[in-house]
Every structure is written in C-alpha cells, then in structure tokens.
C-alpha cells in the first residue's frame, strides 16, 4: 500500500515535520482526532451500560452498509450512517426489557450481526468488483481521507457530542441504576434508544477510518482502561477520550513509518495500555461486575 517508506530519524521534531508534510497525513490526523474524541466519550457510556456486544454488532453492521452503498453507487458515508442508524433501531427493538430475557436478547443480537455480515458479503459478491475493496471496508485505511470528509466528520461529531451532553445526566443515572432512575421519572426507554442511535453514529464515523472490524479498538478498550483506573464519571470520560486520542495519534504516526496496517497498531497500543493498567492496578479497581447471566 505504501509506495515508499518514510525513514524514521532520531530527531523527533523532524519526524513530526515529515509526518505532517503531506496533506493526506494531516487530514488523517484531523479525522483520527475527531473520531477518537467521539469514540472515547460514547464508548465510556457503552462500557458502563455493558452494551459491548451491541456496540460490536453495530460496528459489524457498518460493513453491509458500506458494501451496499458501493453496490448501488451511493457515497460510502451514507451507507455507513444509514446502516448503523437502522441497526440501532433494530437493536432497540430486540433488546427491549419486555423481550425474551438476556439470553434470548444476546441470541437475537448475535443473529442480527451474522445476518448483517452475510448481507455485506452478498453485496460484495454481487458487485464483483475488485475484492481489494473488501479489505479496506473491513480493516480501514487512513490514506485518501479528503478535507470534505474531515469537515463532515467534524459536524457529525459536534452534533453527537452535543446530544450526549444533553442526555448525559439522565443517561448516567439510568445506566448506573435503571430501576431507581425509572422510579424517579427518567424516561429510561427513550434515553436507551437515543444512546443506541448515538452509538450507531460513533460507530459509523469510526468505521470510515478504522474499517468495520476495528472500530472496537477505539470504542471499548480505552473506555475499559479508564474504568479500571477510576469509577468517577467526569475523570473516567476525560481519561477515556485521552487514551483514545493517544492510541490514535501514536498509531497513525507508527503506521506512517512502518509497513504494517494502522488497525494493527491502534488495537495493539490500546490493548497494551489495557493490560498494563490491569496488571498495575489489579482487578480490584473496578466494582465487581455482575455475572453475565444476571440482568443488567
């Protein structure tokens, strides 16, 4: 993919100049920054709400969206956002509390995910263009992000974060103690739906850069690390966003100087931080999670 590998020198300043020499790299850094802030913040709530599996399913649904858009000749972004928005609505329906219990719910989510991926594969097969495109859809690329894309991402992230700020307090309340929040008059159902839509938005924006399979590295790992370190919401959110930014910037910089893909570096860095924090703090830092079999 790289035409010519850049040479890394011991002088960090000249490395940085080299990094920002080309506009494509500047745009990748800008887009990465926007996406990391959004994924870090929304991911923190996702981990708090134990909706990791739903988040993963939404990121998988991004793939058929993009493949379908390619098939009918629509812009990719439309495919990503359309599919993730629709996926969020479907998940909201199948994961209603009046549904079939937690086991039934996760079976339904898993089926939605596999069906979505199968649909994506069908679209790619029907398109029968070069399959190199498939790899980009699944694993992402930071090459060729346009200035217009960065601008769109910026406004989407701004709108998403504004909405998150509006529902932040009731969302936190409903996530920590759903029953009490409901009793206190918080519309927990509506809050849950808005959050799933926000999650879809974050996933779609992230998937454009990291590809459908690696969204998770920015959504779940920084947030999981932050929740290992602190249980306080404000600090945890800042920490989660900070970690997401750090792994994105470092990942982009390393990927620029190495022949290996961005996704590998971003996932490895964030996983490295997670393991380091767990080893340093031990599992006690986080309140003991409920076993998976109990309702959240």
């Amino acid at each position: 993919m790289h035409i010519e590998l850049a040479a890394l020198s011991p002088n960090l300043l000249s490395d940085f100049e080299q990094l920002t020499e080309y506009p494509f790299m500047v745009q990748a850094l800008e887009a990465g920054t926007i996406v990391a802030v959004m994924a870090g913040a929304i991911g923190w709530f996702m981990v708090l709400r134990r909706q990791t599996f739903a988040g993963h399913t939404l990121s998988m649904i991004a793939f058929p969206g993009a493949a379908g858009a390619t098939l009918v000749g629509l812009p990719l972004a439309l495919g990503y956002f359309g599919a993730c928005g629709m996926g969020a609505l479907i998940l909201a329906v199948v994961s209603r509390p009046a549904g079939v219990g937690r086991a039934g719910e996760s079976a339904a989510i898993g089926t939605v995910q596999a069906f979505g991926l199968g649909l994506g594969f069908l679209f790619v097969t029907l398109y029968s263009g070069q399959l190199a495109n498939l790899e980009t859809l699944l694993f992402g690329t930071f090459l060729g992000i346009t200035a217009a894309q960065v601008k769109t991402l910026f406004w989407i992230a701004l709108a998403g974060l504004a909405l998150l700020a509006v529902i932040g307090r009731p969302l936190l309340f409903a996530s920590v103690d759903g029953a009490v929040a409901r009793a206190a008059g918080v519309p927990t159902g509506a809050v849950a739906l808005v959050f799933l839509l926000l999650l879809g938005l974050a996933v779609a924006a992230t998937a454009e850069i990291t590809g459908a399979l690696l969204v998770f590295a920015l959504l779940v790992t920084p947030a999981g690390t932050a929740q290992q370190i602190t249980a306080r919401p404000a600090r945890g959110l800042v920490l989660s966003v900070g970690l997401a930014l750090l792994v994105t910037w470092l990942g982009l910089a390393i990927a620029y100087f190495s022949p290996y893909p961005l996704g590998f570096w971003v996932t490895s860095l964030s996983f490295g931080f997670y393991v380091a924090v767990r080893l340093l703090l031990g599992p006690r830092a986080r309140p003991a999670p409920a076993p998976l079999g109990t309702p959240a």
């Binding site: 339904a108 898993g110 399959l131 690696l214 998976l292």
Partner: protein
C-alpha cells in the same frame, strides 16, 4: 443437484457442522455466552491467517488459536464466564493481529491470496474436497459426541449453578470443557460458513429453540434440527441461484427461522419464551 461431487461434499460436511453448531449453540444461548462465541469466531479468523502467513495448513491455525483462547478465557474468567469488557478488549486486539497477518500474507506473494482471506472470513463450503469433507464430518461428529457426553451435568450447571455446585459437580471444569468444545466447533464451522458468519449458525437456532420449548432436551434436539434445516435449505438455495453465496443463504435462513419463532412467541403470550412467563429457564436468568 447431488450429481455434482462438490454438492455431495458440501452436504456431507455441512450436515455435521450444522448439527454440532445447533447442539453447542443451544448451550451457548442458555449460558448467555453468545459474546464469547462471537469472540472465538473472530479469533478463528486470526488463527487461520496466521497459519496462512506462516505457510502451514490453515486448519491447524484455526484449531490451535480457538482452543488456546477458549482455554485462556475459561481459566481467567470468573466461573468460566469471562467479563464482556475483557472479551471485547482481547478480541479487538486479536482482530488487529488478523489485519497484520493479512497484510503480511497479501504482500508476501501474489494474486490468489486475496481470495484466501475471503474464504476464511465468509466460508467456502462449496470448495471442499472429498477428503476435507470427510475430515470435517468426523470432527463434527466427535464434537457432537463430546458435547452429549457432558450434556447432563452441563445442562444442570447452566440452569441451576448453585444447586449443581452443592451436589459437588465440578462446574469450573465443565465450563472450561464446554468452551473447548465450542472452540472446536467454531474452528470447524469457519470452513463451512466463515469466521464472520458462524455466529449466526450458533445463536439463531439456539435462540429459536429457546423460544419454542421449555424442555431443555427437546430444545437441544430442536436447535440441531433447525441448524440442519438452515444448512440444507441454504445449500439448495445457493445451488439454485448461483449469485447467492452459500454462507449467506444458510445464515439468512437461520435468521429467518429465529424471526418466525420470535413472532410466534410475541403473538401467543401463553407459549414458552413469551414475556412475563416464568419457566424453569427464565427463572434462572432472572
């Protein structure tokens, strides 16, 4: 249709893979371990590509990677049910590794390697040789036997862990053993429907069976039957309409069956699995 050798191979391997997936999938749903199954299916992808990048048999990579990770998850996790943030973080990284192996593999040599990745991700059941199909059938049958051997204590331990522990059942060992069988089935099914789609064959028949019956033994049989029906129907559909990939047809049928089961239980609140109805299974979950 069965006059073609590749269809006969596909039916032979597919039948055993489907029955194994249906049986294991019922327990996966019952034990709320769908997310663990999801993670294992992605690990299958990385294992296969690592083997491909190293130039050894893909199947070896598949089995070694899934079984090793399943044992790790089982031993680390509390009561062999790992936390979902742990699973999520681990398999985000494992997928990143997969991306690395894919890039090494596709850069290393030319042309057809791109399709190898697609085969791992989305399956290649119509491309199995007779020997491959026979091996897949044998492994599938062995996985079914292993599961049926531990089915009784496993069912007991899944439905009522407190009482089972009180009676002295080794729940931890059973949990780890189950994850190992799940790993073998996941690796096996990767060859049929692909790493990305096998979750559907695990979760959909099991979920539908849970909705249709409260009796765990009947549920187990029903889950296997639904998986088998999806596999046979999907293969036939893909043969009839060549532009539809076999793995998509199988998953689409399985998803459709789950949707029908959900509709039935929503429209008939007196049936098993309906909201508000207290059953042996739902009581344990609550």
């Amino acid at each position: 249709m069965l006059a073609h050798e590749f269809m006969r191979n596909a039916y032979l391997a597919g039948s055993f893979v489907a029955v194994a997936c249906g049986l294991v999938g019922y327990f996966v749903v019952l034990r709320s371990q769908v997310f663990a199954g999801d993670a294992l299916s992605h690990i299958a992808f990385t294992g296969a590509l690592a083997a491909a990048a190293a130039g050894i048999d893909i199947r070896l990579g598949l089995f070694v990677a899934t079984v090793a990770v399943a044992m790790g998850m089982g031993l680390l996790g509390d009561r062999a049910r790992p936390d979902d943030v742990v699973i999520g973080s681990v398999f985000a990284w494992v997928l990143g590794l997969g991306a690395l192996f894919l890039s090494i593999f596709t850069n290393g040599s030319s042309g057809e390697n791109g399709t190898a990745a697609v085969r791992v991700l989305f399956g290649s059941i119509l491309g199995l040789s007779a020997a491959d199909a026979r091996l897949a059938a044998v492994i599938g049958a062995l996985a079914c036997l292993a599961l049926l051997a531990i089915a009784r204590p496993l069912l007991f331990g899944s439905l009522d862990p407190e009482v089972a522990r009180g009676l002295g059942l080794p729940l931890r060992a059973i949990g780890v053993g189950f994850l190992a069988v799940l790993a073998i089935v996941a690796a096996e099914a990767t060859q049929a429907v692909g790493a990305l789609l096998l979750l559907g064959l695990l979760a959909a028949p099991g979920g539908a069976a849970r909705l249709l019956t409260d009796n765990p033994w009947r549920g187990l049989a029903l889950s296997a039957a639904l998986a088998l029906a999806s596999m046979w129907g999907g293969l036939a559909l893909s043969y009839a309409i060549p532009s539809v990939p076999a793995s998509f047809a199988v998953i689409a049928l399985a998803s459709g069956l789950l949707a029908l089961a959900a509709l039935r239980s929503w429209s008939r609140p007196d049936l098993p699995g309906a909201p508000g109805r207290v059953t042996a299974v739902s009581r344990i979950e609550a």
